[in-house]
């Protein structure tokens, strides 16, 4: 059963990546990339990297793709006719998500029951994982963490400086 879920995530990852290349419009490419990112997050879950998987979903699906769609809104999509398969693409995605949930649900419920039976306080696996991440990030890699924060700040200032029209040119254009 795990193999089936693995192949579903693999198909989402590679099909989404191919969709970025082959879809003619921007929005379709962004949606394909969303499918690919969700597949990658699923693969990360399967290898046991839970924290990066959820950060992957929130950063890529939540921030980067919204940025892409926002820029597509500014630039304007290539005008292509809506094809029939695109209406069914969401149905296929929902079916895949339902299949994953349906396949995992019995195992998850049995896992939760065993956890409840053994007592939650006895096993602190999730807390241990969070503690390890905290130590690794804020103790061993503190300098890299600060530098990446500084990089994000510099990128933010740079983006505003680049994307904003200079005030002088704007005033000149308004006068003309």
């Amino acid at each position: 059963m795990e193999a089936a879920v693995y192949y579903v995530f693999l198909a989402m990852t590679l099909g989404g990546a191919l969709g970025v290349l082959l879809t003619p419009g921007y929005v379709g490419a962004a949606m394909s990339m969303l499918a690919s990112m969700l597949g990658v997050a699923g693969l990360m879950l399967m290898m046991g990297a839970y924290f990066p998987a959820f950060v992957m979903i929130s950063v890529y699906a939540g921030a980067v793709l919204v940025l892409f769609v926002f820029v597509v809104m500014l630039v304007g999509d290539a005008h292509e006719p809506v094809r029939l398969w695109r209406k069914f693409a969401f149905l296929v995605l929902w079916a895949a998500a339902g299949a994953v949930v349906g396949l995992y649900a019995p195992e998850m419920s049995s896992w939760a029951e065993s956890k409840l039976a053994s007592g939650v306080s006895g096993s602190s696996g999730a807390l241990e994982v969070a503690k390890n991440y905290g130590y690794a990030m804020f103790k061993n890699n503190m300098l890299a963490f600060q530098i990446s924060g500084l990089l994000l700040l510099a990128a933010m200032v740079g983006v505003i400086a680049v994307a904003k029209e200079p005030a002088v040119r704007k005033r000149r254009r308004e006068m003309v």
């Binding site: 970025v20 693969l43 990066p52 940025l67 892409f68 630039v75 690794a136 740079g158």
Partner: protein, 101 residues
Amino acid sequence: MHCQLSEFLAPALMLFATGFAGAVLKKNAIIVFMCVELMLVGAMLALLSFAAANGDVNGGVYALFVMAIAAAEVAVGLAILVRLFRLRGVVDVRDMNSLGD
């Protein structure tokens, strides 16, 4: 959870190859950026699969740094793209040849 290294390295390699092909072949700058993102995600998946195979938590932290750098890169790139679109009105990489003249 089972963790066969090749099971996760293969999709990482295929993601990287697909992204590389798109970054080289596509003519649209937005699609090129998406393909660069795919390449970064492929590299990150390879890093995480090696980390999971070794049972090391530092790999996950490095993956977070990769995500931060990818977010900064795509923000700056798209800002340049928006500015370029205002100046030239196109987002085709074949038209961005002013430095080559």
